[in-house]
């Protein structure tokens, strides 16, 4: 008992030295708090952060899955940027991200405004809207692929009948990319709509009432009240969607049967399928990580997004 106590004291002193604030680890409540977050932190550090460091390390070496060779500096990155498949994957990913997030935001806002009005059966409509969102992305991709198939697909039939397309949709890169953007819009517009709807419901009705009394038009009320008050929610929704669209993998995999490359499918091909490109694949992985981080930073610093930790 005494030894346990002494040990604890000794440990407390050591940690106090480490943390530099007196009593932080001696206080039983605070010590318990650290113990409680420790499992989560450890597993996250081991399974997410350590592999990122490893990715960076591997991308700077001549490496295969089993053997890490000599240090080669940024050679893998040079190879990566010269690879026309990577360039195509980057272009596809950027076009996909910008187009799908824009469409989803506009449609999502419209749906949110519609659902913000009370009407009979609103709960059912909300449940219906949730259905596309809840499906596994890769499965909904397979579903849409069935509807886009040349001989049996109802959408393929309709598009040919209307003269919109002149070749099988699934064999044409441009058509595939457009179809992927639309399927993504179908699937994730509900997410933006529900987030914005929740945001709309926090705006008190008397704000609008006061504006109306002062003679503000509908458009003025929307631009001067709704948009500014909704800005934090808009930023959260758009950031989440942007980063999610940027790592698109399931959708392209299911829709295009590996004929349409995104950055993520490029990494997957490199590190899992063509093992010769293990090192370049890791360089591409680091590229995705760094650029995604920069996008998040842009939202937080430049656009002034409030993060969850500020209270």
């Amino acid at each position: 008992m005494t030894t346990a106590n002494e040990q604890r004291k000794a440990r407390g002193k050591r940690v106090r030295g480490l943390i530099g604030k007196s009593g932080e680890f001696r206080n039983p409540e605070r010590r318990l708090a650290y113990y409680m977050v420790l499992p989560t932190l450890l597993i996250i550090l081991a399974v997410a952060f350590y592999p990122v460091a490893d990715s960076i390390w591997l991308s700077l070496h001549q490496a295969t899955l089993t053997v890490t060779g000599p240090f080669v500096g940024f050679k893998n990155y040079l190879l990566l940027f010269q690879d026309s498949v990577f360039q195509q994957a980057l272009a596809n990913t950027v076009i996909f991200t910008v187009a799908s997030v824009t469409i989803e935001f506009v449609l999502g806002f419209a749906v949110a405004l519609a659902l913000n009005r009370p009407f009979r059966g609103r709960g059912l409509v909300r449940a219906a809207v949730l259905i596309p969102w809840v499906l596994p992305t890769v499965i909904s991709a397979v579903m849409w692929r069935l509807m886009l198939q040349d001989q049996i697909g109802v959408l393929s039939y309709a598009a040919h009948a209307l003269g919109l397309v002149h070749q099988p949709i699934l064999l044409n890169h441009t058509y595939l990319l457009i179809a992927s953007i639309l399927v993504d819009a179908w699937q994730t517009t509900p997410f933006i709509a529900l987030l914005l709807l929740a945001g709309l419901q926090t705006i008190p009705a008397d704000v609008y009432e006061a504006a109306r009394v002062d003679g503000a038009s509908t458009v003025q009320r929307f631009l001067r009240i709704t948009v500014p008050l909704l800005k934090p929610t808009i930023l959260v929704a758009v950031l989440f969607r942007t980063l999610d669209a940027y790592r698109v993998y399931d959708l392209f995999y299911g829709m295009a049967n590996r004929q349409l490359e995104s950055l993520s499918t490029y990494v997957y091909e490199g590190v899992r399928i063509t093992q010769l490109q293990f090192a370049t694949g890791n360089a591409a992985a680091v590229f995705i990580f760094v650029t995604a981080f920069l996008v998040a930073l842009f939202f937080i610093k430049v656009l002034g997004m409030r993060t969850a930790t500020e209270e």
């Binding site: 604030k21 409540e29 605070r30 318990l32 708090a33 409680m36 977050v37 499992p39 989560t40 597993i43 996250i44 399974v47 997410a48 490893d54 990715s55 591997l58 519609a114 009005r117 709960g123 409509v125 909300r126 219906a128 949730l130 259905i131 809840v134 499906l135 596994p136 890769v138 499965i139 909904s140 991709a141 397979v142 069935l146 509807m147 001989q151 049996i152 009948a161 529900l194 987030l195 929740a198 926090t202 934090p232 929610t233 959260v236 989440f240 980063l243 940027y246 993998y249 950055l263 990494v267 997957y268 899992r272 293990f278 890791n282 992985a285 995705i288 995604a292 998040a296 969850a308 930790t309």
Partner: protein, 286 residues
């Protein structure tokens, strides 16, 4: 505009607005639900009807052939089991780790709370693909590749931010008095968490469990990377491969996608309100 007709125009305008509004609502519902119904229709028609041009609207000769085919396929049945096991265990681990972390973050005082929360939430912005190379290497060395554990470990880490985030929001809504009373009566903090807080926050914990389960059920990247054979592969991995291997069995593909989505549609219909509250928890604090 003549003053006599003003009121009529106004009410006509109002009527038109209402028509437009309900048309828009109807359109939203149709676009959300119709694709699923169409795929279901594809799963119950004959092969010759599938190839009919123009496509039939109503099934002419409904048949269960595609459904029999997938349910006679042991690989497919195995995939349902694999998906269920991996998602259920991921949910259990997430709630176990997540409830402790969320309690500490929402109730206890300690330095670095902000950094801890940021570190956890950063994972939700993490492109999973950035780590599949090194993780595959490490899991190979640990002989975890092609076991349930490889998917469970990766899924747990990547759904933990969601779990912690939701639980923090739900725990914060609870009054602190009851725990304090329990502690006065001699309960430890851990006992207060499991005997008082979690039972009181049960609806929130259930919401969190549902959303975590959905996340794990839908996960594809890690499953497709770490699970190599049909013994361990989940529905999300088996179905797209089904689509490329049996290219001509369109009816069976359609039936298979319906099987993967039905549990989720049922969850949505039952827990619609909870799922929405969970989805938006915290993201829109006034």
């Amino acid at each position: 505009m003549a003053s006599a007709t003003t009121t009529r125009t106004r009410s006509a305008k109002k009527g038109l607005a209402a028509v437009l509004f309900y048309t828009f609502i109807a359109l939203i519902v149709l676009v959300s639900v119709l694709p699923l119904l169409w795929i279901f229709k594809m799963s119950i028609i004959t092969n010759s009807e599938l190839f009919a041009s123009p496509p039939t609207i109503w099934p002419q000769h409904p048949t269960g052939a595609s459904w029999r085919q997938i349910f006679n396929n042991p690989g497919f049945l195995g995939a349902i089991r694999n998906s269920a096991i991996i998602s259920a265990l991921t949910t259990v681990f997430c709630l176990l780790f997540g409830s402790m972390a969320a309690y500490a973050i929402s109730r206890l005082r300690f330095n670095f709370k902000g950094s801890v929360l940021t570190l956890i939430l950063a994972i939700s912005f993490f492109p999973g693909v950035a780590i599949i190379g090194p993780l595959f290497k490490q899991f190979s060395e640990l002989h975890l590749i092609n076991t349930y554990w490889s998917a469970i470990i990766a899924d747990t880490v990547f759904s933990l931010p969601l779990t912690v985030w939701l639980l923090v929001a739900f725990f914060k809504e609870l009054p602190k008095d009851l725990e304090d009373a329990a502690k006065v009566d001699g309960a430890t903090t851990i006992q207060a968490l499991y005997k008082v807080v979690i039972p009181l926050a049960a609806p929130g914990v259930a919401t969190t469990a549902i959303l975590t389960f959905i996340y794990a059920w839908n996960e594809f990247l890690f499953a497709n990377t770490f699970l190599l054979t049909q013994n361990t592969q989940t529905l999300t991995v088996v179905i797209p491969n089904f689509a490329t291997v049996h290219t001509v069995d369109y009816g069976a593909q359609a039936a298979a996608t319906i099987v993967a989505t039905v549990p989720l549609v049922i969850l949505v219909l039952i827990f619609q309100r909870r799922i929405v509250s969970g989805l938006t928890a915290g993201a829109v604090k006034g």
